[in-house]
């Protein structure tokens, strides 16, 4: 037996130990004996342990409850061991056999024979016992039973007699047995006995436990109390659990570790590994006062709003009024999913079990994946902007009538291009002057020339006096200004005009380089008054009247100083308002209400206060070369046109930069004019077109001016790069008169 063999080896080792111990001076014999006794006592248990590896320290299966008993036993056995110590040492084999003789026999005097006999106790089968002790008639053992298939017996019993095969009924008997016998369902076929045997109560219990997945052992207690082996006084672990010596690797330095470390050391020496430098932050210890923050006095975050409860329309069986009609359904299906009002359509099902699976499931899951992937759900490929929505909301031109929209009549200057024109303040007469020196006076409506004056040089500017009690106009030529009285005016007006221009008693002459020459004898065929500007001042390019008709400002085309002159009719006096002007003056204008004076040079428009003699404002239109400007009748707005096609609208109260820049002409702007009464202004250009704008100015300072382009009037021919040279509105009527380089003067009517 392996166990006994091992036990022998063990005992030999014990012997050596004991001998060593006996040689040693310090070790008490009692301990050693106790150990050996222990070994001897629990041999069957220790044998398993010894057969295992010495490193694994397993607790011997010792019952805690039996501790005291063992103690007493040990003490008893101590005595016995003390007694037969020598025997044990000498006869190991004997001791072994003693241990395995079981059960102990008793010598009993027989009653019958009167002699002693050996009686063995009854064998009690236990877990330790052999299964052969079971009460089984067939003793063939664990062999394949088909060996006995064609034999009349099943095997042999304990006495060596044959065990005969039991009678076996047919299938009907089996069936009847299952029907009749109430315990047939607890029977099982016994292979050894070749017949059905009823299962015992213990076996049924085991089956039940296996079915329930429990431990099949009924005695097993999964909730056993912990056994505290080494806790408590007197139970400390003093000795190692295993007597195996410590392995060598525990105390020998590792060769591989050494190689690895040497590799790192070499790398450090060669500078391949550089240790990280301690940072400044590391040097100074940092503390975070996490509890020092003052408690926030903000209200706690609001709880999330509750999701809306489903309504009747979300039911699988909604009321009829929630169901969509056919048109609604079609409209819902035709709209894009983003534009739909709700994300579902109410639908009626006769029963809840007929409701299909949620059709949006895959889609929503996919969208959720897109969200997790940080991809936008809606992918718009292009910007869907209605181009009409980008246009400013302007009223239609038809709602802004009247404005001129067709050419009513045309008056021709046959010889030369018409530079200038002017319309009488009552809106009845037009005076137009051309470059050959001819001034024609004609009716606005009929267009037939009534009177004609011929001058020696070309006419640069014509302007009617705005006075209503006198009627005359001024024509500017080379270095001269001529005053004319139209024919056919009433005698009262005629005398008033004559007394204004050629008074019988001349005011005292002033010191000036300008000569005022009255033509004696008021003839209707020539100028009644002539002002001679200084020589070399060139063509007088522009004339403008103050609104009261007493002051007249003239601009000459010469680049020298003194191109601007201010003439006062009542005093027959002329003066140059500016001693020095930077740049060439393009145009001058009187403010309609205030004593202000606009001067447009090549780049800037300056506003002077004439009463205080100082510069008020400088407007910067950003135009390279200003060609024309006009001031709104209210006096708060001014438009400036340039040769670089730009038209700037200034709000004088707003800023020095243009409020609006219009660039509608394809060529240089030549002339601008505000209508005196209607909310209109017009611009003419070298491209031969006239553009009419609606310009409504609001009296409250909050609303911006409304500027609406209304109409482009075409009809003038472009000759030598020059188009429409001057435009003027007819007073009191929405009519426009334009003078073109092609020698024609046109009247545009509404």
């Amino acid at each position: 037996m392996a166990v006994t063999g091992l036990g022998k080896v063990r005992n030999k080792r014990k012997q050596e130990e004991v001998e060593e111990v006996e040689k040693g001076p310090f070790v008490g014999a009692v301990d050693l004996e106790m150990q050996s006794e222990d070994e001897a006592e629990d041999e069957d248990q220790e044998g398993d342990d010894a057969s295992d590896d010495g490193d694994v320290d397993e607790f011997p299966e010792i019952d805690a409850a039996s501790d005291s008993e063992e103690e007493s036993e040990e003490e008893e056995e101590e005595d016995t061991d003390d007694l037969n110590e020598e025997d044990t040492l000498d006869e190991n084999s004997d001791a072994d056999s003693d241990l395995h003789i079981f059960p102990k026999s008793k010598k009993v005097v027989s009653d019958i024979t009167g002699q002693t006999k050996v009686v063995y106790p009854e064998i009690e089968p236990d877990y330790d016992s052999d299964s052969s002790t079971e009460d089984d008639p067939n003793r063939v053992g664990n062999i394949p039973m088909h060996w006995y298939d064609d034999l009349p017996h099943l095997g042999y019993n304990i006495n060596g007699k044959r065990v005969l095969r039991p009678a076996k009924g047919d299938e009907l008997d089996k069936f009847l047995q299952t029907v009749e016998d109430p315990n047939s369902w607890t029977t099982a076929f016994d292979k050894n006995a070749q017949m059905d045997k009823p299962l015992s109560a213990e076996e049924l219990d085991i089956i039940r436990r296996l079915q329930a997945g429990e431990n099949p052992d009924a005695e097993y207690d999964p909730y056993e109390p912990t056994i505290e082996w080494f806790t408590g006084k007197g139970k400390e672990e003093v000795m190692p659990l295993s007597s195996a010596p410590e392995p060598k690797r525990r105390w020998l330095p590792s060769k591989w570790e050494k190689q690895k470390i040497m590799k790192i050391v070499r790398a450090i020496r060669q500078g391949r590994i550089v240790g990280s430098k301690p940072t400044a932050a590391d040097k100074k210890q940092q503390f975070y006062a996490i509890w020092n923050e003052p408690p926030s006095n903000q209200p706690p975050p609001l709880p999330a709003p509750k999701p809306k409860l489903p309504t009747n329309s979300e039911s699988y069986n909604p009321p009829e009024e929630y169901l969509p009609t056919e048109e609604e359904r079609k409209q819902w299906e035709n709209t894009d999913p983003e534009d739909r009002e709700g994300d579902y359509l109410p639908h009626k099902y006769p029963a809840l079990r007929l409701v299909p699976a949620y059709d949006q499931f895959i889609k929503q899951r996919f969208n959720r994946q897109l969200d997790l992937y940080l991809a936008p759900r809606i992918q718009r490929v292009k910007l869907n902007v209605d181009p009409n929505s980008l246009l400013p909301k302007l009223p239609t031109p038809n709602s802004l009538r009247p404005f001129p929209n067709y050419k009513s009549l045309q008056f021709m200057h046959t010889k030369a291009r018409v530079r200038c024109l002017s319309i009488s303040p009552d809106g009845a007469w037009v005076a137009s002057g051309d470059e050959s020196g001819v001034i024609s006076l004609w009716e606005v409506n009929v267009g037939r020339e009534v009177k004609r004056w011929s001058l020696s040089s070309k006419v640069g500017a014509i302007e009617w006096c705005p006075r209503l009690d006198a009627c005359f106009f001024v024509a500017g030529t080379e270095e001269r200004l001529h005053f004319f009285i139209p024919p056919n005016i009433s005698p009262a007006m005629l005398t008033m005009t004559q007394s204004t221009l050629a008074p019988p008693t001349l005011p005292p002459a002033t010191q000036s380089s300008i000569k005022w020459i009255s033509t004696s004898g008021a003839t209707e065929d020539g100028p009644i008054l002539t002002i001679e500007l200084p020589s070399a001042s060139g063509l007088s390019r522009q004339l403008t009247w103050h609104r009261k008709g007493d002051y007249l400002a003239s601009v000459s085309s010469s680049e020298t100083q003194g191109s601007v002159w201010m003439h006062q009719i009542s005093r027959r006096h002329s003066q140059a308002p500016f001693k020095k002007i930077k740049g060439a003056v393009q145009m001058v204008l009187f403010h309609p209400t205030k004593p202000h004076f606009f001067v447009a040079t090549q780049r800037y428009v300056r506003l002077y206060n004439l009463a205080e003699q100082k510069l008020l404002k400088t407007l910067m239109p950003g135009i390279k070369w200003i060609s024309s400007m006009d001031v709104h009748p209210s006096g708060d707005h001014i438009i400036v046109g340039g040769y670089d096609r730009k038209l700037c609208w200034f709000d004088l109260e707003l800023s020095e930069k243009p409020y609006k820049v219009l660039r509608y002409h394809s060529r240089a702007i030549r002339s601008l004019h505000f209508h005196p009464t209607y909310p209109l202004f017009a611009s003419s250009s070298d491209d031969g077109s006239i553009q009419i704008f609606h310009a409504r100015v609001y009296s409250d300072l909050m609303t911006d001016p409304l500027i609406v382009p209304l109409k482009i009037l075409r009809g003038h021919d472009v000759q030598e790069g020059l188009g429409v040279l001057q435009i003027k509105w007819v007073n009191k009527q929405p009519w426009l008169v334009s003078a073109g380089a092609d020698g024609s003067v046109s009247l545009w009517c509404s």
Binding site: D426, R448, V450, P487, N488, S490, C749, S750
Partner: protein
Amino acid sequence: YDGHLCLFDYSQNLVLDASVHQSPITSVCVVPSSSSDTESRILASSSHDLTACLTRIFLSPESPTAFTIASLHLHTSPLSSISTDPSGSHLLTSSWDGLIDVYDTSIPDDHQVNLERGDDRKKRRKTAPANIKRKAPMAVLESHTARVSKALFAASESAQGKAYSCGFDSTVRTWDVESGVCINTVNVPERPILDLAETPDGNVLLAASTDRTVSIFDLRVSSLSSSTGTMMHSVTPSSIATSETGKHQVVTGSYDGVARLWDLRSTKGAMTNFRVWDGMKVLAVDLAGNVVGIGGEGGMEVWRIAGGS
């Protein structure tokens, strides 16, 4: 525009040429006289020189002569039109100063208006003979706010004593001449009216305006407040005339040199176009029977309306 009155016969011969005014003449009309003298007629003409003149002409075949017999004064602006009533006893003048004056046609014995200034009188004496009597108006009709372009008497008997006028203030006014009161005002927004005409039966008033329309006013409607119809033109109509015989025929002359014949019953388009001159304006038209007289920048032409043309 040269201040001359010319009289033609149908054979395109100049019968008479009389210099009446120094300024352009704007309108002329024949004053019907009750006398049976067929040889003499009185013509009334209005001019830019602030006066209107009555001129007696003698149509003797051998030597037609003309004498200006009276000048009508008051206006302070050029006159735009002159017209007579059917009986020939009264004249209406309209002027740019917004006034309408009523004159009678009788020749006064002495000057009713004195010239203000001596030098002015001197000047006039030089040019005008002294036998021209200056007349003052009987009444002044004053309501227009802008230039009056035409004033005429009502033609029908039912509207005796009434007058119509139109002006650049876009109104057509009806006047009671006797009392000088404006009875009715029709406002057509933003349509300065150039010329006015009335059908002979006195039912319809036609007004040509600068927005290229001829407005039709039905006078039978009791309280007339707006135009009842329009005839659209492609260019500005300058003048308008109705015929005494053809009840529904209207002739308009316009600035493109085309005279158009319209039928009042269909205002969609013109019946006939007469292209008189190219590029020259028609300034006056008249319609008598089936003869159309057209005057303008190119001279004077007379067209005959044939049946189907």
